[in-house]
Subunit: 385 residues, 4 copies
């Protein structure tokens, strides 16, 4: 890379959770700097947040429209290269579309949009403009998830037979949206979150991971979504039988009322020769169970891992990396690809391996499919993408 890339941010002002993660992730490797922001709809908060981030005052904007307009008029050597949109779901589409129209590359939180229809429009816009879009499916950034995918693709497990994914959280075990919990409030509000709560928020991560590691598309689902906590407006729990291409089956279970769980995403994939098991809460370890040989435990940083795992690691074995580093891997790959684009050079296959608009469309299709299935008496519902 010839220079640091310049990032703007929409959302992520004081009190937001994910905005701070994006900033750490984006800048961890010293290849991206935050240069401007429309950090909040509230003028006071926007200003204060800009100051806390040491942004120059003239690049702290009061709205995303203002930011995109003003930045697009700055000289090429100064204006931001891309914008990270870290607002709630309902406020993804409009700024993303405008950013693309103004010529900015985009980083977007998941689920990508408010509806599948928006997602399809956004995909069309990305294709028209040729700009890059990174969708932050964080968990795909972990080195040992890369390792799983590479082992599957290399055929080490033989033909794939089964995928089991579960994502259990407990933080919505009570009606917290009525107790001044801002995260709970918007994520359980159909007007801000969309037609699904739990499946939209974390089921999409699980579904993406299942497709990513298996290399197979989900073709049909049989879903049961539940609203367990009385008074809640959206699903907070659900179980889904999955059918994939190539006769592979699976189960996806997700919950935000699994009391006592933190962020317990676990995935298992079985093939003819063995199975792989990965758990997000101990992400540097990958358990490999072989049919006819002793179990192995692969560890991040180890020398025998695939080039994709090694590319997404910063420290030697035994120096644990975590969530922020996984998130930073998405940004680093996006930045490497963007720099290559700007410099007219090819990006490496490892750098190109980040989730984008196609995964965003499938995520929205997953949401609409499981909601439809849950409302149906039919056993199987075709995946809508």
């Amino acid at each position: 890379m010839n220079r640091k890339l310049r990032m703007g941010m929409i959302g992520g002002g004081k009190g937001a959770f994910i905005g701070a993660i994006h900033r750490m992730a984006a800048t961890l490797d010293g290849a991206v700097e935050l240069v401007c922001g429309a950090l909040s709809q509230h003028p006071e908060n926007a200003l204060e947040s800009g100051r806390a981030l040491f942004l120059p005052q003239n690049r702290v904007y009061q709205s995303y429209q203002e930011m995109l307009e003003r930045e697009s008029q700055l000289p090429a050597t100064e204006r931001m290269d891309f914008v990270a949109i870290v607002t709630p779901n309902f406020a993804h589409f409009a700024p993303a579309m405008l950013a693309l129209e103004k010529g900015f590359h985009v980083v977007l939180e998941k689920p990508m949009t408010f509806s599948l229809e928006e997602a399809r429009q956004l995909k069309q816009k990305v294709e028209e403009t040729g700009l890059l879009l990174l969708l932050t499916h964080t968990y795909a950034g972990y080195p040992m998830v890369k390792q799983v995918r590479q082992m599957v693709q290399a055929g080490e497990l033989g033909k794939i037979r089964k995928v089991l994914v579960e994502y259990n959280q407990g933080w919505l075990s009570r009606l917290s949206e009525k107790e001044d919990n801002k995260q709970a409030a918007w994520r359980t509000d159909p007007a801000r979150s969309g037609i699904s709560g739990c499946m939209g928020d974390i089921g999409t991560h699980a579904a993406h991971l299942a497709e990513y590691i298996s290399g197979l598309k989900i073709t049909q689902v049989c879903a049961q979504l539940n609203t367990v906590v009385n008074g809640r407006a959206l699903d907070d729990d659900g179980n889904v039988l999955l059918r994939f291409e190539e006769n592979v089956t699976g189960v996806l279970t997700a919950s935000q009322i699994a009391a006592g769980e933190e962020n317990n995403l676990r995935i298992k994939i079985y093939g003819e020769n063995g199975g792989l098991e990965w758990a997000q809460q101990e992400p540097n370890t990958l358990v490999v169970k072989w049919l006819d040989q002793p179990m192995q435990v692969l560890r991040a940083g180890g020398g025998s891992l695939s080039s994709y795992a090694q590319h997404n690691t910063r420290t030697p074995g035994g120096h644990p990396e975590g969530y922020i580093e996984a998130f930073a891997n998405l940004y680093r790959n996006f930045a490497l690809t963007l720099s290559a684009l700007l410099e007219g050079t090819p990006a490496s296959p490892e750098a190109l391996d980040f989730p984008g608009v196609e995964e965003g469309v499938r995520g929205m299709a997953f949401i609409e499919t499981v909601v439809a299935s849950s409302n149906s008496q039919e056993k199987w519902t075709d995946f809508m993408a």
Copy 2:
């Protein structure tokens, strides 16, 4: 107890797996002795097996009919008290019925019979005779499973919300039934195993455990059974959405083609206040995740456990017990109950807590229900019991 109880065995000759387990389990606590057997259909094997077990020659029988007849004619101070039937599924019903008719108490391997219809007849016979029947759902014998059930019953988790159970094995990942593997041969043979393979063999354990720990009955299922290995006659894998009483939902997944897995039965149950997680392969540990307090790890042998857990433990904490001890707990409770019956004294609630004919009927109903559901296009199938 005033004396040792006397056990006979049907099946379990040389080369059998589960017969040896039954014998160790039955005699571990010094309260039961093996006195006779019809150990094999093959006269040579029957004799040789009897010798290897140091049985007196006159109590090594050539058929279960002979054994039940001859034992019933022995004086009360000598004849066996109960018979353990450890044959393949198709050969459970007839000897069990005859044993009951001859006045013997019965220990029976699961699944209890070949069909739900047989199970119902057996249940009627048990009720008519007033004799005891132990169904060896081994996993219900572990002290930490007892602990889970007691914590749920005591309301420590609050209202139950979700049950997740998975039972993964890999030993049928290949077409082993065609490779001179006797276990594989009968368990995948509809004529000896029944209408289901994986669900009959291990799905029934998982279903029993789910009902046992939750104290709730399954009311509806949505099942997808798979025959993954080409050339196999029965299901070797399956996934089931569960509905329980009281609006509780769950998932049961079972597989015998999960390559690399040994005997990986795991269960999680969530209530309003927290969740419990237990894994058979590390059975002395119970993870308790609380909504608002630090996670706890309860350990078998610990002083704070329920009377049921303590009753089913032989060693202090840190001296691990395992599968044989869990199995022996079933036998010990059965033996304590039987002794109490013979002595005309009441058995303790802890002793009375062993699976019997009612659980056997529900197991057969589970098999017939999931097979029907898997063949149906309807989403939900009512549980048949």
Copy 3:
């Protein structure tokens, strides 16, 4: 084996811990039966204990002298073959000597005697009589400990470099010997336990295991023994630097005041090519860390294990075995060896692999050496055996 072996027991009456373990272990495999006992010094307790074990009244003795005398006069087809001595340390030597003199084989709890001098005399007697002696170093009975030893002996780790063993318990964290805890009372009493508490009770297990798995003898120690709890008469904690043959070094740490620990015995051994790690509380798992390859996890019951591991296993992988089974392995190997001796056939190498009088002498030497070292200002004290 042509017949069951007949066992007598000295000690192990009502309320004793280890006697019950011995009985379960001895009889688990159906090859040994308890035929007589001198179960307590208290006549009432002796009788009651005999009844509870369903022993014939005429073989419930009031003293070990009576038992050894009377049994030796019974016909060969009836009298016990061997005696298990499960009394406190001070009461090991006399009954063991007498038993040997009367021609009985012996099973003895560790530490073998009260003093090194006694141990040497006992060894001489064993050698003179040609009788068998089993010393119940339980932890050497676990299949995965056998596996460690075999891998080391086969050179899989290359030259051994380091051995780390720790044995932490917390049950003596308070002055429990003053609170009517019988176990605590005798184990902390110099008159009944000997010159060391913690090192005698559990340090000997750790030292035995270190020598057993490495195949190397300890040559020098540098010990610091501590009496942490005020008012206690013997060490309840200690740390020891170890030197072994062949320039190998190590550390042994043992404690009975490690509050919160159950029975946490762990051992690690490193060679040029990798390291092995085993923990008694999860005994079916052996972690193998290789210098240049991924870590492996070997599991009891797995097909690739050594013949010694397989010989000492009863169940397939995933059906956990525990402390009682490990204990039973000692008895089974002793019984196989004894039967072979009685029948004039050779015992297999796997059967012959049980701890005996030689290990007993080394255990007593360990105790006397670490006590001497702890009292010395010299850095290194030669091992006394």
Copy 4:
């Protein structure tokens, strides 16, 4: 903080390991920016490394002397605030002394100097100048290590009784210093590393951690250092008995020839009421074993943790943090303290909790003490600090 702090770096050019870690750690929270560097002794490498870090060309210096001189002449609004020295041990003292003389605060890798004498001089200089010094004992930056220290200080364990620390690595299992491994080359070279290899490199971490979590000083040691790999010039392995203040004892074992180990630092501390156990490779988990209550597992990000643990955490429970975040905690606390100093405000107790020159002196004293002890025939050697 009113502004970002400006950092310069000495060492850390292309190919260095720890320099990159320092840069990520320093800048992770957006409160520090790298403004200049004397990154290598080789002019070419220095320039290239500066370019790769996007430093302005006029602040890429050819020597640390040049950098310290030139930066000290820049206006206060522009010149660096502090310098991070990430060179091998022999090259810590001179630049650190000069930096302090020029008025710059200092971040220094451990061990702090080449000799105890240098360490004492450096301490005197720090005290004279009143400048800040951060010594990067990374492992003290983990939130769950903070938690251990706070629980001990709050008396939750009661009086402390024992500390066990082990630090096992395997990367020097071969004579890698002769195989073009730069890290191995300098770390095993007495001219660059000092009088100890393993104990200087990782033993110092273990000793620091033991004192940090217990709040107690080591008073005496009994050490055995080993040079296991033939041809090596310094110790690569060692075991140390420890005596602390207040009659506490312990063991420290460290190895770089523990083949197969990555970076396995583990610590246990026992008091009257229970024990705490932490392992660096799974750093977000803290096991709490209580004498009379069930074991607990505390998890980073949890709400019940001490203010020190929470202050050193960036993500909610279940979003794992790792080595880089722990390192960044050191920098963040140093930066908060430095900002407070520059702004004339008080720093919080949590911010003030980072290792400094005092810990650096003790680290050097540890090295000299264990080397002296290892060479002595005396059992105990007084700690030299």
